[in-house]
């Protein structure tokens, strides 16, 4: 193992690897900042460029660009209220209210520090876990994966701004919308209304952009700037430093959220969006000031951002060890492995442990460099907040149109941005949880598939397997937690 660590370190210091990272990191940041272009889009666009590269250099190129899109996306989530990529949606909930209060520097400082440190925790977990990996991942069958996804759904009620029923309705609608198009189990197209577009169901990118970006752009088009006064455009380094200190002060929250990110990242098929929302909900449930969440709680920025970057380390674990991609982005990265002549799987760690270690180091460095780069550029980015809304609205709309079209090369996607935009506006006005809807949409197909497999393979008592039972207990606890909190408050004489 020691030889592999040294070998990996030497591979990582190769000039080709460092040059590949230097090119990929700014590209990844741009993909992150542009709404609609996500990490998977970055991977898809850059994949052809790695052909002929040295294996680690090629993988470093792809992995760096992919992993740090979320760092760039956090800035637009905080400053504009528009998630740069879907997993950044959880950051909007508290990051944007902080920006509206003129505390964007505080939120950015916390987000970038959380991203960098979360990424490093994810890599540390990757290096520690790699040797003991196979039994852990293989112990997760369909029942456990189904219940883990259901655990995410349980948190929908927590994610809702106050009204649990509204949160659950939004989550249910999200799951229902995810059931349009081909059913994974039978291949039968459902609810497609003889429209070719609906054969594949609703797409994630138009949904995310419509739900989160259109209502904000509509508000901008009425003439207001994002921040009410010009002092908000001055990035106060004191605020940034306060954000950094707040993150370091919340070290246990950071560590716990990062480990949630790693854990969710490890489980194949559970998307990165889940990690950020679960970390957010866990932070809210255990916070001393849960009422502050949604109105600008700094913990609501730290938790999702640390989980966001940490999950990439987790997602690499099954990708390298089993050849099973831990996330959608890793599916494309797997293509990169094959293009470079590598075959991830159980034998990969025996034969290429040095490459695996080198990749872990690439991931750690990319996260830290990206955070530093955004720190350096943040003072310019933040000036956007005082630009007149009537100037910003059409420009953002153009970026959204271009980004959405690029994701699928389908003009209908742009049309659906407006359809989901109307839905997002209504939900926002009536205070229904848009993040809950998104999480339901992401988890819907997963829930259906794993429920079906679990019932077929283990029967109706599938949840009595030991790990499944533990997750089921967590679900019950999660649902009962608000009641228990209320009881505790009354017994303790609280409100």
């Amino acid at each position: 193992m020691f030889d592999s660590l040294v070998g990996g370190f030497l591979l990582f210091l190769d000039v080709d690897v460092l040059v590949a990272m230097a090119i990929a990191i700014p590209i990844g940041l741009v993909f992150g900042i542009l709404p609609g272009l996500s990490g998977i889009t970055a991977l898809a666009v850059l994949l052809p460029f790695v052909y002929g590269m040295e294996p680690l250099a090629g993988l470093a190129f792809l992995l760096s660009a992919h992993a740090i899109t979320y760092t760039g996306g956090s800035v637009t989530a905080i400053v504009l209220g528009i998630p740069g990529s879907p997993p950044n949606a959880a950051t909007v909930i508290d990051g944007f209210p902080l920006s509206q209060k003129g505390q964007s520097g505080y939120a950015i400082g916390a987000a970038l520090t959380s991203s960098a440190l979360g990424g490093v925790v994810g890599v540390a977990a990757l290096v520690v876990v790699l040797p003991f990996l196979q039994p852990i991942v293989t112990s997760f069958g369909s029942p456990e994966t189904f219940l883990l996804a259901l655990l995410g759904i349980t948190y929908l009620a927590v994610l809702g701004r106050g009204a649990m029923v509204k949160g659950l309705i939004a989550g249910g609608l999200g799951i229902f919308l995810a059931l349009f198009g081909y059913q994974r189990i039978t291949g039968v197209p459902r609810f497609w209304l003889e429209s070719d577009y609906l054969l594949d169901g609703f797409r994630l990118i138009p949904l995310v952009i419509g739900l989160f970006a259109i209502p904000e752009i509509l508000a901008l088009s009425t003439g207001r700037a994002i921040a009410p006064d010009h002092s908000a455009a001055q990035l106060s380094w004191r605020q940034v430093w306060a954000g950094v200190r707040a993150t370091i002060g919340a070290r246990w929250l950071l560590l716990r959220s990062s480990l949630i990110g790693v854990f969710v990242g490890i489980v194949p098929g559970v998307g990165g969006e889940t990690a950020t929302f679960v970390a957010y909900a866990a932070a809210k449930q255990t916070a001393a000031n849960p009422d502050q969440f949604g109105n600008g709680a700094i913990e609501g920025v730290i938790a999702p951002e640390s989980a966001n970057n940490a999950k990439e380390g987790g997602a690499l674990i099954p990708t390298l060890a089993l050849g099973i991609p831990g996330s959608a982005g890793m599916v494309v990265l797997l293509g990169g492995f094959l293009l470079l002549g590598l075959d991830p799987g159980p034998d990969f760690l025996d034969n290429h442990m040095d490459t695996a270690v080198g990749l872990a180091l690439v991931l750690a460095l990319a996260n830290v460099v990206a955070a530093l780069l955004v720190f350096a550029l943040a003072s310019q980015i933040i000036k956007i907040t005082v630009v007149r809304g009537t100037v910003l609205a059409p420009l953002l709309l153009v970026l959204i149109v271009l980004g959405t079209y690029s994701a699928g090369n389908d003009p209908a996607d742009v049309l659906f941005v407006f359809v989901f935009g109307a839905l997002g506006y209504v939900l926002k006005e009536f205070d229904y949880s848009r993040p809950a809807l998104l999480l339901g949409f992401v988890l819907g197909p997963l829930l259906e598939t794993y429920l079906h497999i679990s019932l077929q393979a283990y029967g109706p008592w599938f949840f009595t397997r030991p790990i499944a039972l533990a997750i089921a207990a967590l679900i019950v606890l999660g649902l009962a937690w608000p009641l228990l909190r209320g009881l505790g408050g009354r017994v303790g004489g609280g409100p």
Binding site: I169, L173, I175, F176, A219, T390, V391, L395, L402
Partner: protein, 153 residues
């Protein structure tokens, strides 16, 4: 009774109920295909029903619902929002009638000019949009943006 609070649960229940009905009676999907949508749809409809009951009973008692937000939400002014929405939707005819490369810059130019910006600002930002669409997306990223009109009525 706050009737506008009923809008979302009623519409969502109708939407989900319609598709469940279509799936069962019109498309006649098998139970394997409809099992999960039925579970999710019926639970969501039940939640919508619960929400309706909450709103109606809260209206009778003259107070907020049992787990309603305590914050007051002031309704947005309808006219500027409708005006803004129409302006945003204006990008669609521009894209469909002129294609992306011509439609987007023209849309930005008209939007800015008719919102009181100067010629320089409107023209400059329209050019910037063209440069981003053509230079970054089409050339650098290789995105096949529709250059020609997508469709005429």
């Amino acid at each position: 009774m706050r009737t506008n609070e009923l809008f979302v649960p009623v519409v969502l229940a109708l939407f989900i109920g319609t598709f469940l009905g279509l799936g069962l009676f019109s498309f006649q999907y098998s139970l394997t295909v409809m099992r999960f949508p039925l579970i999710v749809g019926l639970v969501t409809c039940a939640l919508c029903g619960l929400r309706i009951v909450q709103v109606v009973s809260a209206g009778r008692q003259g107070g907020p619902g049992p787990d309603d937000e305590r914050r007051e939400v002031s309704p947005p002014a309808v006219k500027p929002v409708a005006f803004g929405a129409l302006w945003l939707l204006g990008v669609l005819p521009a894209l469909y009638l002129l294609g992306y490369l011509a439609g987007l810059p023209l849309y930005v130019f008209l939007y800015l000019k008719l919102h009181g910006e100067g010629w320089l600002m409107a023209g400059g930002l329209a050019l910037l949009c063209f440069a981003v669409a053509y230079g970054v997306f089409m050339n650098a990223l290789g995105v096949p943006l529709p250059v020609h009109p997508i469709g005429w009525p």
